[in-house]
Symmetry: C2
Subunit: 196 residues, 2 copies
DNA sequence: TTTTAAAATGAGCGATCGCTTATTTATTTT
DNA sequence: AAAATAAATAAGCGATCGCTCATTTTAAAA
């Protein structure tokens, strides 16, 4: 019997990510994807049940990779400042190295396909951060009441700068690049906010 | 001659906002909008050139209202802490009072229709904030180098909490409500980060 | 009351949508 | 070499898309 051509399914995934990253979900269609990936529309339905399944599968797969990358070289036993910086660095590296995937994820976020994605990210965050933050509090490095407030103060500034960077645009209207220097400046503000 | 029925165009706008806020752009269509608004599809094209013009018009209109609401009771001469708090309060009130519009704006953000929206918001922010921040620096209340960093530290935490609130979900998985108490807690962190 | 002109509409156009089916192609097993 | 089987495809289905047109409705102007 004939075996699956892995190049085909990889091409389908890759082109789907590129198309959604570029034009958004509202212009994304199976016929156009098939043409772009160099396969027949019917071929896509060998690998995926329907359009929804296609998108959900890719979202799930990329979310797992995305979260894993966020915690590379991270250890909950790290000091607060070191651990948070590792997560910041990983987040920024991800945005730069995998631009398409990050734009894709951003387009998905506010759609029905983004529900599971957000839940998975939240759970993973809670798991990893739970111990990390608990340790930091135990050591008397930081203080806080609500986990949501911690997340908002510790990560939201970075995520906003990453968005500015991805869009190549910002408040001032000028082009914006997320340099290590700017990351450091922002990080110092955040540390000041959270430290006792 | 016959005059335009303002109820009709208002109904079209309102239903468009509700539909996009609820199901997102990818499921939004003119025929369904017409049915929902109780008019003929052709009627919509009396008021708007095409689908793109319809969405762009609503985005522009609501963005102006949205930005205006953000600077209600705000004066660039205010002390830093007071001025920033006014903007925070306005942002939170907007999310609570005009839920549909805020969800609509959020769905639009990462689409092609969101480009002008973002630019307009950025410009308005830069104008209002320019003087305000300059005054605060002159008075020695705060210090910072980059406008983008200021924005990221001063507003991103609040905007993240607003998103949690809108989605009724957050890091922990539990339902999340943006109370005044949580806003205050977060605000104190941010002030600590920005004050000299 | 009649005329006039724009608002409003129902029906439906061509194009594209997600998806299926009948058939062919490729590769392993016999 | 023949049989077996799943991958892959071209063609196109019904449904829906954005949008238009011929016609009717409405209310001000004459």
């Amino acid at each position: 019997m004939r075996y699956r051509d892995e190049n085909k399914v990889q091409s389908i995934k890759q082109k789907a990510i590129e198309m959604i990253a570029g034009e958004g979900l509202e212009n994304f269609g199976i016929n156009r994807l098939a043409k772009s990936a160099g396969v027949s529309p019917a071929t896509i339905y060998i690998y995926y049940k329907d359009k929804e399944d296609l998108i959900n599968s890719i979202v799930q797969e990329e979310t797992e990779k995305w979260v894993a990358a966020l915690f590379r070289n991270f250890d909950p036993e790290m000091s607060f400042e070191e651990g948070l910086w590792v997560q910041w660095k990983n987040r920024a590296d991800s945005a730069i190295k995998h631009r398409d995937v990050n734009l894709f994820m951003e387009k998905i976020r506010n759609t029905s396909y983004g529900k599971d994605q957000q839940i998975k990210i939240s759970q993973c965050m809670a798991n990893f951060m739970g111990d990390f933050v608990k340790n930091a509090v135990k050591r008397g490095e930081i203080t806080f009441n609500t986990l949501e407030v911690y997340w908002a103060v510790a990560f939201a500034p970075l995520y906003t700068l990453v968005k500015f960077h991805q869009e190549g645009r910002s408040i001032s209207g000028r082009s914006f690049k997320l340099t290590e220097e700017i990351m450091r400046e922002t990080f110092n503000h955040v540390i000041k906010a959270l430290k006792k």
